[in-house]
């Protein structure tokens, strides 16, 4: 365990800091083993790894939905614990600053109509009705789904559901966006749209953390990559272009097939120097 | 077993609706207590699940249908109070969208299937699965037995509700205004359908799912069995009887019974209806397959009518209702007493509401 000084973040302007976190499901299936990482304000960070390496678990820890068995998590200079989030004031602050877009939009959209779905977060934040209505309309317009407002989410297509899920998070105006496999199961055009949106949001100052094993979109979606090994530890942490060049490492963590340069990587997208 | 609107008098509907209010309140409180963690979606899931199970009806010519309910399965997986909420909601959706079971009759239907069934069934399950590890082959059998008994308890209740109608609500010339079948007809018919057919389905479904989960998804079983060891072992502190509130519910029902008393009229021509020898005479014409059961129940419960003179229909109602409830109560009490005696300071299962969160 690498626990540093009690209440001091390791880096001065780090927004989210995880130190020596370990987590096991049902106390017997390890998902995180002594993981330390931090995210600076305004960064685009990708958590990379094969299926079951723990990146989704780490995302849930960052979202304050799971709490490490060992180690600690600090967000916005405050220690995040299960007990701490029982406090309504702290929970409201934390939840409104951290937005989570889940991999499965099916799970994310659960309200009877799209409008209610998007209003769910602001309602829980206790905003005024007028402001909520305004924000909801703005979010609908921003994601170009005004015409879906009164539809039931289960009637929507996968891409439409993803838009609704993202709108329902953006409406709360979070500082940090956590996304689990955001481009998985989306068609090509929707993927492009989503990538553009995330880049735009990042340019507007939002911090973005995403878990993925899709290497194709990384050059645009992440400045930095944190790579997980299959034994649930951090294998490396560095700038995207450097990580992507390290074929041996990527093969070792099962992100590309061993002994063969990934054709997609070899296809020659521009590597930033 | 879904009683549609039109089979029960508004008075009966009112009584059962009123009886369910405290049950729902308690169930809501119990479920809400653990809501802050992750049970709301699970309860909703249970409701959808029960709905699916109930969707498959077999018509049985006695005024009802036979089908599995899944209430005991949900009680085993999520706890009896969650089952109350889940099955009630499944019944509400069915009543609203599929006309399967009435809206006014919702109180009666939920009393039978969402209250009596999970409580009785879970009681039986707990009794039979005492000191049994989570993966023991005895556990699915216990769950199946609970489901079987629970379903039949529910069927019996609905038979009593239906069977009381012609005796209490009929016009001057003896025309039954609601369900036309008497207790002597509704009870054997329901019992027959559920003891054989639907009970078997319920047993197979519940035992089968529990057995499957033992093999394939133990964590799901652990939700409501936190303190139960996976393999043979022993532990756990004494527990509050989960039936305490069930008993309160039944007691409430007894107290509320008079609310439903709206005397259907004065001295009606009840002679043909309640003439004992004539009744027996007609029973001889009932097909032999039914005669045995009919005769049995006929003798056992006819005292409950208590209105032979035709002059005290209200008292007859009260007495009949009390008899019906007493039988249900006896079932619950029997299970309760047995469990308590056997348990005595040892309890393997951890109840839903005491689960650490």
């Amino acid at each position: 365990m690498t626990v540093s000084d009690a209440d001091m973040p390791t880096a001065d302007d780090a927004l989210l800091i995880v130190e020596g976190a370990s987590y096991s499901y049902l106390d017997r299936f390890p998902a995180l083993d002594d993981v330390s990482m931090s995210v600076q304000s305004g960064e685009k960070v990708a958590l990379l790894g094969a299926n079951g390496c723990g990146k989704s678990t780490l995302l849930k820890v960052l979202a304050g939905l799971l709490f490490p068995d060992r180690g600690r998590y600090t967000a916005f200079a405050a220690h995040v614990t299960e007990d701490g989030l029982e406090d309504a004031q702290f929970a409201r602050g934390f939840r409104s600053r951290v937005g989570v877009v889940f991999q499965n939009s099916e799970a994310q959209v659960f309200s009877p109509t799209v409008r209610e779905e998007i209003a769910f977060g602001p309602l829980n934040m206790g905003l005024e009705r007028d402001e909520i209505a305004e924000r909801v309309d703005d979010s609908l317009a921003m994601l170009d789904i005004l015409d879906l407002a009164d539809r039931a989410p289960y009637q929507l297509s996968g891409g439409q559901k993803k838009r609704v899920a993202i709108a329902s998070v953006l409406v709360m105006n979070p500082d940090v966006l956590l996304l689990d496999e955001p481009t998985a199961t989306l068609d090509a055009r929707t993927q492009d749209w989503l990538i553009d949106l995330l880049v735009e949001l990042n340019a507007a100052g939002k911090t973005i953390v995403l878990a993925t094993h899709d290497l194709n979109t990384l050059d645009r979606l992440a400045d930095r990559c944190i790579v997980f090994s299959e034994d649930h530890r951090v294998a490396t942490d560095g700038p995207t272009h450097r990580v992507l060049r390290d074929q041996d490492l990527l093969a070792a963590v099962n992100l590309v097939r061993a002994g063969s340069r990934s054709p997609r990587l070899a296809a020659g997208w521009p590597l930033p120097s | 077993m879904h009683i549609p609107d039109g089979y029960l008098s508004p008075e009966t509907c009112g009584v059962f609706g009123a009886a369910m209010v405290p049950v729902w309140t308690t169930a809501g409180r119990r479920v809400r207590k653990i809501v802050k963690n992750r049970y709301v979606p699970l309860v909703a899931l249970g409701a959808a699940y029960s709905f699916l199970v109930m969707m498959f009806n077999v018509p049985i010519p006695d005024g009802t249908t036979a089908h599995a309910v899944g209430a005991v399965l949900i009680a085993v997986l999520l706890g009896p109070w969650a089952a109350v909420v889940a099955v009630s909601i499944a019944l509400l959706i069915q009543a609203l969208f599929f006309g399967d079971g009435g809206v006014l009759a919702l109180g009666a239907n939920t009393f039978n299937m969402a209250f009596v069934m999970p409580m009785v069934g879970y009681g039986v399950y707990r009794t039979l699965s005492r000191n049994v590890s989570l993966t023991s082959p005895r556990r699915p059998i216990a769950a199946g037995m609970g489901a079987y008994v629970g379903l039949n308890a529910a069927a019996f209740c609905s038979a009593v509700e239906l069977g009381l109608q012609p005796a209490l609500f009929h016009s001057a010339n003896g025309t039954p205004l609601y369900s036309p079948f008497h207790l002597a007809q509704s009870i054997p018919a329901m019992a027959f359908a559920h003891l054989t057919v639907a009970g078997g389905v319920e047993f197979a479904l519940t035992a089968g799912v529990v057995a499957y989960l033992q093999r394939a998804n133990l964590p799901l079983l652990r939700i409501n069995h936190r303190a139960v060891p996976d393999t043979d072992a022993e532990l756990a502190p004494p527990n509050r009887p989960p039936w305490r509130w069930a008993l309160v519910g039944l007691a409430t029902l007894v107290v509320l019974t008079p609310v439903g008393l709206r005397a259907p009229g004065g001295a009606f021509g009840e002679d043909a209806l309640s003439d004992l020898p004539l009744h027996k005479y007609h029973l001889d014409a009932v097909p032999t397959g039914l005669r045995h059961y009919a005769g049995f129940w006929h003798n056992a419960l006819f005292n409950g009518y208590g209105f032979d003179n035709g002059s005290h229909p209200t008292i007859g109602y009260l007495v009949s209702a009390l008899v019906g409830i007493a039988v249900i109560g006896a079932v619950v009490f029997a299970g309760f007493t047995v469990v308590r005696r056997v348990r005595r300071g040892h309890d393997v299962d951890d109840d839903f509401e005491t689960a650490p969160t």
């Binding site: 409104s96 499965n104 | 039109g6 089979y7 909703a44 409701a47 969707m55 006014l104 079948f181």
Partner: protein, 308 residues
């Protein structure tokens, strides 16, 4: 009633096999699968279709859902109290008129209601017309059986008519409500009428899960069928299949339930259900309430006049 003299048990169990979830009887699994999948598909279509009707601009669709819920519930209570077939028929005609005013195709509406009045409601009340069940004055003698007179009684016939008309009217009222109201509005109306928050919350989620579960059921059976050669499997394997798929379904859905919960918590959910919907009563609503009250008073009045 339900059994003949010496029916062996196995024969009765074979009947049960008609229930798609039973698999107790000696049935080929193909039947089970067909029934389950087609049942699921039909259910989906039906419910989806009802949202289409709710989108029309008819009388009921324009009412405040709260008004609609209360009015139709009131009429339901009145219907339950009526004791004369002609009055009940009048009420039934009223529901038809409402359906027409709400731009419902009458043939569709009638079919939907009578589909729900399960065919067996008729079957159920038939024996009640016999003097064996309902004693009284025999109007249609059917001869003798084992030396006893057998026949349809006036009381039995009337009782059967009462039950059938009342059930039809009740179901019509409920169908009118649900078919003319989008599910979300119905929930909001219940919430506005002070239904417990937990109820609304679970109800809304359960409704959603239903669609997911139905899809999952269909997928699972289709997948299974693809792997099954012909229909020649024994009952035990059928039963195992049903139990296993029921179990797998629950497990699958439980994972989803946990995800939904996390998604809710991540957006600040702390156990309260809140809503943005606000309703407004209009003149039309007031007029509708008045009309319902008038209809109720008239029905009860006539019913009493005809005697109790």
């Amino acid at each position: 009633m339900s059994a003949t003299s010496t029916t062996p048990k196995w024969l009765l169990q074979h009947e049960v096999g008609l229930c798609p979830c039973a698999c107790i009887g000696k049935r080929r699994k193909g039947g089970v699968i067909e029934k389950t999948t087609s049942g699921a598909a039909a259910l989906l279509r039906q419910t989806l279709f009802s949202e289409d009707v709710a989108g029309e601009r008819g009388l009921l669709q324009r009412l405040d859902p709260r008004v609609k819920v209360l009015s139709l519930l009131g009429l339901l209570v009145v219907t339950a109290d009526l004791r004369h077939i002609p009055v009940l028929l009048g009420m039934y005609a009223g529901t038809l008129a409402l359906a027409a005013a709400s731009k419902l195709r009458l043939s569709f509406f009638v079919k939907r209601v009578w589909l729900f009045i399960p065919v067996f409601t008729g079957v159920v009340v038939l024996p009640a017309t016999l003097n064996v069940v309902t004693h009284g004055d025999i109007v249609v003698p059917l001869g003798t059986w084992f030396g006893h007179h057998l026949g349809l009684t006036e009381q039995g016939l009337r009782s059967a008519g009462l039950v059938v008309t009342r059930v039809a009217t009740s179901i019509s009222l409920v169908v009118l409500l649900t078919i003319s109201t989008p599910w979300a509005k119905l929930l909001a109306a219940l919430r506005a009428l002070r239904a417990p928050r937990l109820l609304i919350l679970v109800l809304g989620m359960a409704y959603r899960y239903l669609f997911l579960l139905l899809n999952a059921v269909t997928d699972m059976y289709v997948a299974r069928r693809a792997r099954t050669v012909a229909g020649a499997t024994d009952a035990t394997s059928g039963r195992l299949l049903v139990a296993a798929s029921a179990g797998a379904l629950f497990g699958k859905a439980q994972t989803l339930a946990e995800e939904v919960h996390l998604a809710m918590v991540a957006r600040g959910y702390a156990g309260d259900a809140r809503s943005v919907t606000a309703f407004r009563m209009r003149l039309l609503d007031a007029a509708f309430v008045l009309a319902c009250v008038a209809a109720a008073v008239a029905a009860v009045g006539v019913d009493r006049l005809l005697g109790r």
